[in-house]
Assembly symmetry: C2
Homo-oligomer: 384 residues x 2
């Protein structure tokens, strides 16, 4: 099995973007290609992740992106796994490079939804749930994560203020991220006084809908060494599944797919939670980051909320969680989110993170799930 | 690299189906699992192909299907490459098994569109083109393939009647396929007198919109030998791309992605066009089958239409093309189509094809493209 490396990364700004889905995907792809210092024709294949291309009238995005890059002859495909699309696409690219099918691959995640309005987006998002059991009953994602949050508050020694501190921390990190959607300092009071979306979750417990695109270049170690000294290595990759509908789960305060994906990724890397210097995790709602931090093994079950509340997940604390600002502040352009996490890890481990740098970081982890965690992928990276 | 085998296959009927997208996907998956004689829990991952899940209010289909199969813990994903989604999903599953990441994988393609009406479907199909250059100019797929057909008629010694004979032949094959959408014998006159859709293409030159699901079980040779004697081997796999918009191509009478994919697949298999006993090719329009038969090397450029007209592609003739009835008669449930082609190859090479059996067939090929061939995958299989 070939060692797999990331040699380039790029993102558009996340937020409300005017350019088309194709244009922003190409902008991120070009940024990643330039950052890698390679020529487009050196790319063997394109792995695109996207969920709602239909919202911008363009599916079958791969050939359109490849054509715009001047490499229309190269194969491409689109991967969808709801909000976890980006990391699954990354995983497929990883598997193909590891197996020696390709030397260098472009992984681009993209989404364009803000122009459709909240009603359209919320409705279509609900098609990512198990629609028969959830969406058609009116259980959209804020409601489903509210169920998880309520269960957590009932089961463990935690408060809504603990959740609020996750949002405050991620907004603080996002202030130093020029690509972030919501660059705005907020307080616990701001969160507590914001409109209730689905009790106990309030507006500032929720990530925004964002437009955006992120890209990375994955390649074999040989290709990396021939092209740059500035690369990182993928040392762990794992995926897992959960019952698609929340009602099929035995517990609401843990996501089985995260635990399975993490177990595989840690095993492949030969590492454990204590070896991770920082993590980009899937904080679509504040409760999600709390649950993630436990399922990934950073804290004991039931301790994640208090740990966040005590500042143990802040930048350069015990474990820096979401130094980029996470989905909450950086934004959540669905198909791009998982790829954007890898962009942050690349920037952190190659000294490009500026003010939000995790000091002396050697090992970073990404965790990105779909829906309420019906699917999840975890990757572990180290500097070289 | 592990040898990769297909040990089971199953399909729903193609046509207008009342069951939900989830239900038909599960029906096909169960049929494939039963045909393989394995237990669901022996499956390591699910590769789903689908384009318009949104039409039946269900995307993120993988976890929903896996949950219905009782194996929610297993990873899954959805792959989209327009009408070529099924073969690209098959290719990713192949790559993962070949690399040793998984022992046995479920590949399920599914589509549910007939309930949305022709207008919705035609509009959304056009989002699979390069929408900036094509769809928004009103160039939907019948128009784009009509351009290819007109160019072919202009450039080569061929007639509309030659194209019609492709439809007549595929309908004749489909008569013996109990799963086919349009099981109806037609004549050249029927085709010539049918309504003009986009000149020179008439209604009977066009495949239908279909609902349907198809599944196969892919596995390592070791797994295959432990479970059954009734399996086939994947001996070639290739992919390629073309300029996304037709206007970017140098010629309208050839599809570059098919030639690239075929070249790779033939090379991997160590075979050439003359070694292929039968082929399931992408005949979304009659002109497409003609072009495919040339790009795959079965006939010289410009000879495909006459070859079809002379009966050289009929069942048990020089090369049996689309013994299943093809997209034209069997139907075209977008995301399922490429997987359905593999189901036909499995049935043919394991003696399950009944009346439409290709005699003494040892080697079969599938070719499945997206849009006007912006993406294409070719696979070659042999009996063991």
């Amino acid at each position: 099995m070939e060692k797999v490396c990331v040699i380039g990364a790029g993102s558009t700004k996340y937020g409300k973007l005017d350019d088309s889905i194709t244009d922003i995907a190409v902008q991120a792809s070009v940024a990643a290609i330039e950052s890698a210092g390679i020529k487009p024709k050196e790319i063997d294949a394109g792995y695109i992740s996207n969920v709602f291309g239909i919202a911008d009238k363009q599916v079958h995005l791969g050939p359109v992106i490849m054509s715009n890059l001047g490499i229309s002859e190269k194969p491409s495909l689109s991967i969808e796994s709801a909000c976890g699309s980006g990391s699954v696409s990354f995983r497929e690219a990883f598997a193909n490079v590891a197996a020696g099918f390709y030397d260098a691959v472009l992984v681009t995640g993209v989404e364009k939804v803000t122009h459709t309005g909240t009603e359209w987006t919320t409705t279509y998002f609900s098609y990512c749930s198990d629609f028969f059991y959830e969406g058609q009953a009116g259980a959209s994602f804020p409601g489903l994560f509210a169920s998880m949050a309520r269960a957590y508050l009932t089961e463990f020694n935690a408060t809504e203020e603990d959740f609020a501190k996750v949002a405050v921390k991620n907004h603080e990190n996002g202030l130093s991220n020029p690509k972030a959607h919501l660059r705005k300092k907020i307080t616990v009071d701001d969160v507590m006084n914001s409109a209730v979306v689905a009790s106990p979750l309030k507006l500032y417990d929720c990530c925004p809908f964002s437009d955006g695109a992120s890209s990375v270049i994955l390649c074999s170690e040989k290709f990396a060494k021939e092209h740059t000294k500035d690369y990182i290595q993928v040392i762990g990759s794992g995926r897992g599944g959960s019952p698609a509908a929340l009602q099929g789960r035995n517990h609401l305060t843990t996501i089985p797919s995260t635990k399975l994906a993490a177990e595989s990724a840690y095993k492949m890397a030969g590492l454990g939670p204590k070896d991770i210097d920082f993590a980009e995790v899937h904080d679509c709602f504040t409760i999600a980051e709390v649950v993630d931090s436990e399922d990934l093994g950073f804290f004991e079950k039931g301790q994640g909320a208090k740990a966040a509340s005590e500042g143990r997940t802040k930048l350069n604390s015990e474990i820096s969680i979401n130094p980029s600002g996470g989905l909450k502040s950086k934004g959540h352009p669905i198909g791009a989110t998982g790829v954007g996490q890898v962009v942050e890890v690349f920037d952190q481990l190659t000294g490009r993170a500026g003010e939000r740098e995790v000091k002396d970081a050697k090992v970073g982890l990404t965790q990105n799930f779909g829906a309420t965690g019906a699917s999840c992928a975890v990757h572990i990276f180290q500097s070289v």
